[in-house]
Structure formats: structure tokens, C-alpha cells
Symmetry: D2
């Protein structure tokens, strides 16, 4: 009989659904070494009870404090808007719960540092859900880089384009409110590509950037009032990495035609890698060392059993979807708890991404390059 691990999930919106499903599918495909119990779903608003039932939770509540206070709960997942992350995560860690938190980790570097410190002090396992690291094609990119097949990385570009906010008719949401969301596209989408850059290239040294709120006000569905949008929908930034590589980044929620287009390219001294989230089963790779006659970007279908995570899924060419990255992330979080190992990425990574975001905003406002704050001091 496997030991049990009980989880409480705070937040029952889009992300709460994705997390619930990851837990639902986890043991169908993977063996994390413990039996996971979906104990409590916490949400505010419509039909938390019904949602909990549908998604396989044993119970539900409107109070996150109740989740933290529950001695039977071993681990807590946080899927709330960003302004609540710190309070919940710190409380959870102090209560000895392992914590998995949605990205961006917090609404400021200070908050992120608090969270990291709390988790570290409590010696609980902590994970920030930069789920795209856990896609097979992205993990394969990392593998190739670590094998040295691309040579030293010199250039990185990443764009994350969506167009869900293009229409002025999209109503006012918490994501348009800086107080709730911390920042806009630069944080929501940008934190993903910052994290991937850190993982694939290394630490950021300094940045420059700009951002814009294209659609400046929107109507609230709650009260029909017109509210000012306070988060950017378009942003761009340049970076220098500590290893000297140059980085080029943009995020956009009003980029017509792009639905979930996170595209990155890693350029090394001996080759290059291109990934596109809308074709997430594929990785394009160029090996410069081949004979010129035969050189070309190859499109690897990352569905071979030799590829990361794939042996647990389907035969070659039977593609997986976006949601599978969440399963992998939970697998690694739960397994790390079961085996008392260190999962990845941790709050440290979430905090480092926050430091970059903070530098971008400093640079943007000051109209100059800004160093990434030293968080090791």
C-alpha cells in the first residue's frame, strides 16, 4: 500500500481546472511513489462545490486559511490572482505544507523573496509552475544544450503572442488590474519566457524595455462601469545575460492571429533550436557541424520513447496537448516530496524571474538599461 499525499488547491478558475486535471491524470500515466488524494478545493464565487465534485475533490471551502489549517493536507497548490500568492504561500510553508504556486510567483520581487525565504526556512518542497519547462520538446531542447550539441549560447529570442485582448469588447478582468495582477503581458506571458531563458541560457545581467497599454479602458461585466486598464498588453525588452549572450523578447496579448504563440530560438556557436508552443510536439534543430550539403533545420516529432516523458504516453506521432505539461510538473513535485528530493523549478526560480521583471520595469520607466537586482545578498 502506497503512502498517501493529500493536496489542497486554492483557486478554481482556469488554472484551478488545469491543476485539478493534472492531478486527475497523474497516476493514470505516472507513478510518483505515493497515492495522491485530492482533498480540498478552495474557491471564491460560483459553484465551488459543483466544481470540486466534478474535478474529483473530496471537499471544498471558501477559506484558504481552512486549507492551511487542515492537518491532513500535506501540500498546497496556489492558483489565485497574484496579489494573494505571498500571503497564502508563506502561511502554507509556515504550516509545514509543501507548496506549488502558479507563475508569476508574486506581484513584486519583495513578495517573491519573502516566499522563497519562507519556503526555504520551513524546509518544505516548493515549486513555481513554469509548466513549459515540462513539455517534452522544451525538455529535449535543454537536453541538447546540456549535451553541448549547440555549443556556447550567444543569442536568444523569445516572443509570446496572444490576441485574446485585441478586441476592445473583451470586458474588464482582474488581469487588466495592476493591483491584482502585478503586471500585464510582461509578467503573465513574460515570466514564462524569462524562465525559459534562464533555464536554457543562464542568468540575466541587465535589461532594457518598453511597454504599452493599447486598449486603455474596458467595461466591467459586474457593474457595467468603464474601468481604466492598468496593465500592459504589449511589451518588448532586450537583455544581456551573464555569459554575454544577447536576448530579445516581446510579449503581446493583442497580436492578431496568435493564440498562444510562445516561440523561442536558442542560437549557439554550433547550432540552433526553435520551439513554437502552438506546435508543441515539435522541436526544430540545426546542427552546424554537419556537411554544408546536408545542413538544414530538422523538425523532430518529440513523440519518441527516447524523448523526455514520452514513454508514459502514446506511440510515436500520437501527439500530446498543452495540459500534459501540468501532469509532468505535478509528477515531479509529488515525486520530490515522496523521495525527499529537490523539485524544479523552485521558488528560487520564481524569485529570479521576478527580479528580471522588476529590472525590466525599472529600465522601462527610466528609459535606460537596468541591472537585474542582486538577490543573493
Amino acid at each position: 500500500m502506497k503512502p498517501r499525499l493529500s493536496i489542497g488547491l486554492i483557486g478554481h478558475g482556469f488554472m484551478g481546472r488545469a491543476h485539478s486535471h493534472a492531478l486527475h491524470d497523474l497516476e493514470f500515466f505516472f507513478d510518483p511513489g505515493v497515492a495522491v488524494v485530492r482533498k480540498t478545493l478552495c474557491g471564491i464565487g460560483d459553484d465551488v462545490a459543483g466544481t470540486a465534485a466534478r474535478y474529483g475533490w473530496q471537499g471544498w471551502t471558501n477559506s484558504w486559511e481552512e486549507v492551511i489549517a487542515d492537518p491532513e493536507i500535506d501540500a498546497v497548490s496556489i492558483c489565485t490572482p497574484g496579489d494573494a500568492h505571498r500571503e497564502i504561500a508563506v502561511a502554507a510553508a509556515q504550516a509545514g505544507k509543501h507548496v506549488l504556486c502558479e507563475k508569476p510567483l508574486a506581484n513584486s520581487l519583495a513578495e517573491a523573496l519573502d516566499m522563497y525565504e519562507a519556503a526555504r526556512s520551513a524546509a518544505v518542497k516548493h515549486v513555481v509552475n513554469f509548466n513549459y519547462r515540462k513539455l517534452p520538446a522544451v525538455a529535449l531542447a535543454r537536453r541538447f544544450l546540456q549535451q553541448g550539441r549547440l555549443g556556447e549560447v550567444r543569442f536568444f529570442r523569445a516572443t509570446y503572442f496572444q490576441d485574446w485582448a485585441l478586441s476592445p469588447d473583451v470586458p474588464f478582468l482582474w488581469r487588466f488590474d495592476k493591483a491584482k495582477a502585478g503586471a500585464g503581458s510582461m509578467a503573465d506571458n513574460g515570466s514564462h519566457i524569462i524562465d525559459l531563458a534562464r533555464w536554457l541560457v543562464g542568468e540575466f545581467a541587465e535589461v532594457a524595455g518598453t511597454a504599452e497599454i493599447t486598449v486603455k479602458e474596458r467595461r466591467s461585466v459586474e457593474d457595467g462601469a468603464i474601468r481604466p486598464v492598468t496593465t500592459d498588453d504589449t511589451a518588448a525588452f532586450l537583455a544581456r545575460f551573464e555569459n554575454g549572450a544577447i536576448g530579445l523578447f516581446a510579449t503581446n496579448r493583442t497580436s492578431a492571429g496568435h493564440k498562444n504563440a510562445l516561440v523561442f530560438e536558442v542560437t549557439g556557436a554550433r547550432g540552433a533550436l526553435v520551439f513554437d508552443l502552438e506546435r508543441l510536439n515539435e522541436l526544430q534543430v540545426y546542427f552546424y557541424d554537419e556537411a554544408p550539403e546536408r545542413q538544414g533545420f530538422r523538425t523532430i516529432m518529440v513523440t519518441d520513447p527516447s524523448h523526455p516523458y514520452i514513454s508514459r504516453w502514446w506511440p510515436p506521432g500520437h501527439v500530446i496537448g498543452w495540459e500534459h505539461g501540468f501532469v509532468h510538473q505535478y509528477y515531479e513535485f509529488v515525486k520530490a516530496i515522496a523521495e525527499d528530493a529537490t523539485p524544479s523549478p523552485t521558488f528560487y526560480d520564481g524569485m529570479k524571474a521576478q527580479a528580471v521583471l522588476e529590472a525590466i520595469e525599472t529600465a522601462w520607466r527610466g528609459k535606460r538599461w537596468a541591472p537585474v537586482p542582486d538577490t543573493e545578498a
Copy 2:
């Protein structure tokens, strides 16, 4: 409290796993109107009990007759090799069970006719799992055709290429044994593209074809013996449809570089559609009526809530995978039972595909065009 529908699943290999998962995910995303109970998993060989437990089945057995005999079981799914389909399906229907059967429906037209007749006589719901009809992009193709946006269909091409059998080191499997599998690539892969052709273009009138066994013998893992391969790995056929359209088809399990490449193009008098299973979230469409200056194949990301099935999944651009088609197929099967409606595709469709397969083999052996047998007589 919803009524319950209990299911027995016969076969616990690759397809048994895909069906189990479809049932596992079904009510997380869809509401078929009843509560589905995974009652019994039936399998032969390794660890049926463990598999049943892992995949959420209440019980297990080695005897398919036991499943049929169980008065609590309402519906039966058949995922065995093809040589067992008829016996099980007929017995299930006669026992009043609704039946969902893997494709190809049978190993011969005669068997398929028996199955269709049995299901019809018993007035149970019957479905053949041509799961690719249930992918959003394929369903969207059908929608455009039914809207008349492509005009009269005049040409259809479809290829289904894989390369899992390319290496002579792949051991002898039941799929290489004509007695078990009925046919090879022509039936296994071909039945999918025949079904899609029927759905998107119309009934076949006559066919011509050829086929080959490229790798002629393989070693058995069981006893180490070299066995002759008796099923084709490569096949090609031409068709005329009843509406006069020309069809071009090929299937291949030794087509280097293609993992699960079901590609089709529908060419009409006013436009064209292209689908590729390895990029199953996309549909390419060309509308000939547009101004020449602006004409071009467009790539639709079939992830908008307005697209078939998508509103139950994730936001635009958050792509789904191969397995999701099975969820949709089960949703429609179970819903049809719940509402006493007719699901799609039925054993009739499975039988019609079998008639085409039979004509192809007749044509191939006779080295001439052969009419598709009249199955309405």
C-alpha cells in the same frame, strides 16, 4: 442524481489504455447525461488486475463471456485484435448490450455484416471507433463541406504513413499475422482514411490497388522463431466515388520519417481543405471565391470556442492531443445511449469501410478495377 451506465471493456493493450483514459476524462470535461461506471476490464496476459486498478476499473476478468453475461453491464467496448470482434460484438448485442468496437470493424465484410445485422436487430446503440472523425479540425472540415463552402467535391487524396515497422528488428506481432489482423496497413491505417473519405466525400463506387510486404519475415519474441509476415506494410489504391470524384490513397508502415501522418486533402469546385494528424489542432483551408490578390491556404488553429468540442477544453491556442478524439467518441456514444439517439459512426459505417477494403483486395488480386460490393441487397 444521474442515472448510471456501466461499461465493460474487452482488451487491455494500447487501445484498451486509450479507451480507459477516454472514460477517465469523459466527465471531467463533458456531461453525457449519465454517470459512467468503469465496471470491468477484460484482458488476457500480463497483469490485468494491476492495469484495471490503475485505469480506474472496479473489477477485472480474463473472460469476455463473463463481461457479456454480467447483467449490470450496459455497454461493451471491444479492443481486441480483429479476429475476435465478430464473436464478441454479436454476443454483446444479443445480450442487449450497447457496443463500441475498434476499427477496422472486422476481418472481412461477411463478419462486418453479421455484426451490423446483430446490432441492428438487437436495437442496441453501436459505434465503430473511427476516432479521427471526432478531432475538432476534422469535424470542422466536415462542417465547412456541409455549409457548401468548398463546392462540390471532385477530388480527394489521403495518405496514412507511419514508420514503426520499417526496421527489420521490430519483432513479430499480431498485426503482422493476417489470420489475427485481417489485413495490414491497408486495413489498419486504410480503414481510417476510407472512413474519412466516406464521411467527407460520399460512398465509394469502385477501386483499384496494389500492396506489398516489404519486410517479409520477423522474429517472434515469444519463441525466437522467424515467422513470415502475412500482412502488407505498404498499399496504394485509387477510387471513384459515386458522385464521380476521384480518390487517391496510400498507407504505409515503413515510410521513413512519418510517425502518424494521416494527411488528407478535399478538393471541391470552390476550395480545398488539408488536414495533417501530426498537427491535429490545425486545418488548412482555401476559399477560391476570394479576390485572387488575397487567396491563399489559411491555417486555422482549431482551438476557438466556436470550433467543434473545443468549448469544453482550454482557451484558444492551448492545443489538445491525439487522445482527445477518444473522449469525444465516448461522449457521443454515451450521450446517444442516455438520450436514445443514434451515435456516429455506427457499425453501418464500419461495415461500409469493410466493403471498400474487400473491393480493394479483390481489385489488387485481380489486377483490375473492382466495384465495391453492394451491401444493401
Copy 3:
């Protein structure tokens, strides 16, 4: 001072223009060893004189016999409709002129045999303008095959789709008249893919096929009369090659969305190649021998100096166009004359393609597989 080679060109339509331009560009980029003189352009109809002047011809005529009779002319190019090929080519060869003839070589196998025999007897150089062999990417495909990198070829598919004849408003042209054109899409487009198949795979053994005239009548621009279309616009055929490989072919002039889409795939025991004429600077290649982790179709930009013909053009990535194949074909024709070598492809190749076309029509009409006629007897 280089020796001179004087050319007469018969036909001043689309092909006459393409040939004239090939000669115009030839010595700008290549050195064929002789100085080419564009002596006489022969045409019937509008403004032959003006066309000749514009395209750099020293003189012009309405009489092809005059071209043949001109003792100063060393070589003749034939760009007329197919029904005039035989008479002109035979006369030219008998007059000791080297001959380059447009494809398909003739309107029947008998005519093609006459032409081949006449050219061979006269010991002149003879070329059929299967210009796509001369594109760098296609020549690279051939190189890889000859290097053995793809292994034994087992499967070949080729489609050549255009849509210029889709609209019923396209007027009646000589290409719609079987008496003039010999055949329709099957010959015009089909001869190209038959030739590529022979070049890349080997000789055809037998074929089966079907064809259709979708738009059955069209209005003549000359007299406004409605005329019946007597050439197919859609055709499909299967083949067996002498080496056992299976071939799958289709041609279409009413295939909405495709402008000049000659696509082929060569599948061998160790890899595959894909080419698309609309992206003619690219070749996709899959090498099956690589580690599964790194396998993928690579897209080679065939613009490297190491690639066929490219060193004479531009730097890598500076793409060339459709017309450049004609320059290469003329380069090889003229160089073969200059060096008394054998050019490629010759009337033998044109004749062999005709034999395949004849077999396809036999098969189509007889509704059975037909052997390719033995032309060696």
C-alpha cells in the same frame, strides 16, 4: 575567341519566352564553352518580329521549315504544341541539327519512337526539356539517392496540382484539345512526374489509372463558340516499378489553391526526401540512421555553393526562381554539343515517359493494370 553555336527557336508563346530567357541568361552565369547566337525565332501569330527583337533574336520567321533549312543554324529548340513536335524534330535531326524539344516529347509513343530514332540515327545531340531535373534541390535529391543515403527506394509519390483551369470562364485553349495537345493534365503535368520517377526510382513496369474532364466545355475566344474539352484536367495513377517499388501519382489543373504544386516524396529503406516546386529552393530529407532522439525531416536551403549549379548564382539564402532550371538545361545541352558529350535527359527519356503515358491510357480505358510497352524491341 570561342566558337559560335547558332540556335533557332520554334514557338514564341509561354515556353518560347522561357527558352529565350534561358539563352539570354546562359552566358551571364555559365560558361558552356561556346558563344551562343540567338539566330532565329519562329512563331505563328501576333508580333513575332517584336517578340524576337525584345528577346534578343537576330531574326524571325513564320516558317519552321526555314529554320531547319538555314545552314547556319546548329541547333533547334521546339516549343510548339505537341502535335508538331515529331515533324519538326525529325526534320531537324535529318538536317543534322541538334534538337531540344519541350515535353511531353510527342502526342503518342509511336511519334516519340520516330523522334528518338531520327535523332539517334542522325547522331545529333537531343534533349527533352524535363526542366525540373535541373533544379538544384531536385538534383540534390538525385545526388543523395546515388550516394545511397536513402537506401533502396520502395515507395514514391508525386502529385502535380495547378488550378488555372478551375474556373469555367477560362476560355478554350489548345491545351484543351486532344488533337493538339495529345492529352491533358496526365500528359502535360504527368510527364514531369513520370520523368522524375524514372530518374529517382527507375523504370516503370506497370500502371493503373483513371482520369476525368471536370469542366466539359469552354468558350473559344476566337469565335465565341462553345467547344467540347477533350483533355483530362484530373488524373490519378498507380505504378509498380521494375525494382518492385510502388508509385502513387496524381495530376490536376482544377485543384483549388495549388498554383504549380509539383510535390514528390521518395521513400527508401533508410530515409526519405520531399520536394515542393512552390518552394523550389528547399529539399526536405530524413535520415533514418540517426539516433531516434534526433531524427526529423530537415529542410535544406539548397543555396549552398556545395549544391548543384548554385556556385554560379548567388550567396547562400539568396533564392533562385523557376526560370533558372531552363538556364541549367540549356547550359548542359550547349555544353554537350561543345564537348561532344551526351546531355540529359534525352529523347530516350522523352520516349520512355511517353510509353508510360500510353500504358496509363491503356490501363485507364481497360480498367485494369497495363504493362508499360516494351520499347527496346
Copy 4:
């Protein structure tokens, strides 16, 4: 009899060859209203006489002053390294010659202003060869923008990646010497994308950037000495346009896998456009106003007679190459002279691009955003 226009071309390297060919092909396809005479080719170094003969020039010289002094020469083209542009162009204009100059127009804004002023004062026609404006797909992009089909432009991204300088074994060339070339990738490749941005979006307001010399020294082929590379091979910059749009740019000569990959995307309030120079016959367009069900990026084959320039070339789908843009540029230059009209782009455009380059360098060195210098004062 058409009037004649005599041209002198200064520079006989890669660009001299491309210009010569443009003139060679010009009247084969287009009618600029005058008969162009290739009078004198001027070059320094190897075999100017042979080159001139091969490329159809009547005469040759080693002295550019001689070209300027020739009273029979009406127009001068400048294809030298950038450090000679100003002197030659100013002299040519002052001598009353029309001038076409390679890009970037000069090695500094001051030089560019001199050139623009000289050409304007002399009232000669002046063109800077931003040849990519003249590709049909790029001209179509501009047409769609001017038709208002994309709405107000809000975001622009462009990258121009090559990898010819990736290998440290590439010898020292004038392009690696800041004194000769002015700048590196930022100027050579960057000036193209800056010009396209100005043409498609509008004037730049301010910029920020960074650049790097990755390969820091190279061996000279002349004397075998190791020389320091003083021009960047990698650069990235951000921009704000006067209309508020955000721009994202990068150039790279060491970007493994990219041969001539100028890619841009224009994002407007109602759609988007994507162009890739390696597939220069294609334009991708997204119209946001369509029904969500049918929205998608369409790939237009820009080979229809309704597309810019195409009616002079080949039928649909018969693709053109990189060199054709030069033909179009010369067509417009010569036609403007013939008709006393204003060609495009002019030295004004070359000068404005230089102003942006200067601002980028200021920004890069100052590590802050820098306004584009006011050149209208």
C-alpha cells in the same frame, strides 16, 4: 526609336554583379520607356575587363572619376564599400548624373545628409537600393496596409539573420572593418529592416539597443595577418515609432541555420502580415475581421497577375528569385528618369535610415533610449 539612357556602374563585386544582371534582364521583361545602355563598368582589382565583357558592358575603367566625367553617361550606380559612397555620389550629382546607390547609403548620418543635399540641389533622380521593397510579396504587404486592411499598426518585429560569419575560419573582409563598412550587421542587415519598418509603419521616434562582436579577430587572406574585427556581427534594438507603435529588431551574421532570413511581422488593430525572405514568393496574412471559425494566417503565393510586378514574369506558381527585386528597382529608377517622376526609395529614405542607425549606436553606447536625430532642421 526609343531614347537611350547610358549607365555607368561603379563596383564589380557581388553587388556589381547583381546590378549588371538587373540591367541585363530589365528590358527582356519590362518597358521602362528608354533603351538602357550599359556603357561603363568601373572596378578595382581582378579582371574588370573580363567581368565587363561577360556582363554586357561596352567598356570598363579603374577610375570612378572617369565615369563621372563621361558626358555620355546619364546615370551612375554605386556598389562600392560604404566609405566611398559619399564622394562618388556627390560628384555624380554635381556632374548632373542621376544616381542609384547601394545601401546603407553612407557610413554616417553626416555623409548621408551631404549626399541627399547634393542630389536634391542638383535636381537629379536619386535612389537608394533598398531592394526588398521591390519584392512582390513586400509590395503586396504595403498595398494591404495602405488599403487599411490591417488597421492601425501597433507592433512591428523584424529579424535579419545570416550565418556566413559564424565560422572563425571566414577570413578578414572589408565588411569586418568599421572604417570601410561603417558598421556591421546592424548597418548592413539592419538598414534593410529599418527601411522596411519606415515604409510599412512610419518614422522612428526613439531607440535602444545593444550589439556584439562574437568573433573578435580573423586572418587576412592578403597577408595572413590576424586582424581585429571592428564591426558587430550580432545586434538587437527596440524602437518606438512616431505613431506610438513598438518595434523589435535583431540582426545577426552568426545565427546558425539562417542563410538570408529577413523575417518581419506587422501587427495592426485588425490583422497581421508575416514575410520571410527565404520564401520570398509568399506572404502570410491574418484578417481579424473574419468569423472566428474561419480565422487563420493564410499563405498567399504572390505569383498572381494581380500582384505587384508579377504580370511581367511567369504564370501563377512559377516562382521568382532574390535577383528579381533588383530588376524592379532598376525599372522604377529608369522609368522615373524617362518620365521625370520621383522614384522610390530616394536618398531621403537612405538618409532617414542612417539617422536611425546613428540613434541606435548612440543608444547602445549610452546604454539608454536615444531619440532619432532631427534631420529636417
